[in-house]
Amino acid sequence: MTRKKIPLNPDRPRVREIWDYYAASTKALKLYQKELLDSLANENVQSDSNEARFMPKSEVFDLLESYYTELSQEVVLTLSSIFEAELRLDYQHRVRNRFKDDISKSFRVLHKKHGERIRMETLLNVWKKRYSECGRHISLFERLILFRHWLAHGRYWINKSDEFTPELSLTCADNLFTSLPNFDTWESIDQPNT
């Protein structure tokens, strides 16, 4: 049976772009923070921020903290979806190119059954089974995915799993993808300061 190939999006977001967005947004938030604190320090300095209007300092700090958390979680959500895409792209890459290594052979078996639409957990299980030495990285990555799951579903239940920052998420994915053999689709990036 011929299975339909998933058309790939050449404009999919890259880690570098999201990381730059995170750095720029953090910088913007810091400027915003300065504007609000300056306005509290000097009543002649006006802030046109309606969301903080008539807030005392304690509430301004709570507001800023909520914005930093929101930005962090928004970026973790996007980054972890890119990481998921990386795992799937690697799967497709191995299947389409018919590589001869063990993992590619296992993926081809899976492909006969599932085609290109496959659960990420299934892919991770194959990796875990074949490369038990990467188990620690895979376990941490699975915890990131649990956190992503909580974010993606509107955070309506109390999260009991680990919380991830963008920095930790990127380290977690980078550790995993650079330890997996021939994981060629991954472009590692250095984490600049945000």
Partner: protein, 150 residues
């Protein structure tokens, strides 16, 4: 400047920047603020006099202690408007707020409305999340009070 500035220098610079402002007599500002809150309470008492005379409402005060940078710790009263079935509390939040000269919160259970002081005038304000404000007068106050008590 990260790299050339020590952490202590950084803290000193930020403190200096934060305190760089036109000279303000903060003791006088504090007195004005407390007096202005008291004047507002008197006005509210007048607006509610009939309901009090008919034993429908009772007004009580409670001392609160607020602590703010520049003003230090100070005592200020909060107002309790009690009916037989519900209490509405008007509680001073702070004199130093963004874009105004003080704020009180009017609270009843989970309902909350801001009363803000701007240009020596009191206004109601709310974020829903859009920010809206309108004059505080007898009509607007009793409307909000009724809405909160409902």
């Amino acid at each position: 400047m990260p790299g050339t500035e020590t952490f202590t220098d950084f803290l000193k610079r930020r403190k200096e920047e934060f305190n760089k402002e036109p000279s303000v007599d903060w003791d006088k500002e504090k007195e004005d603020w407390i007096a202005s809150v008291d004047a507002l309470y008197k006005k509210i008492e007048r607006w509610l006099k009939q309901a009090q005379d008919e034993d429908l409402l009772k007004i009580q005060y409670e001392d609160e202690e607020l602590s703010e940078e520049r003003l230090g710790s100070y005592k200020i009263r909060s107002m309790h408007i009690d009916s037989e079935f519900i209490r509405v509390k008007i509680r001073p939040v702070a004199r130093i707020v963004i874009g105004g000269k003080g704020r009180l919160d009017m609270i009843c259970g989970s309902k909350k409305m801001m009363i803000v002081r701007s240009d020596d005038k009191w206004k109601f304000a709310i974020r829903t999340p859009k920010f809206e404000s309108w004059p505080l007068n007898k009509k607007s106050f009793t409307e909000i009070l009724q809405e909160m008590m409902e």
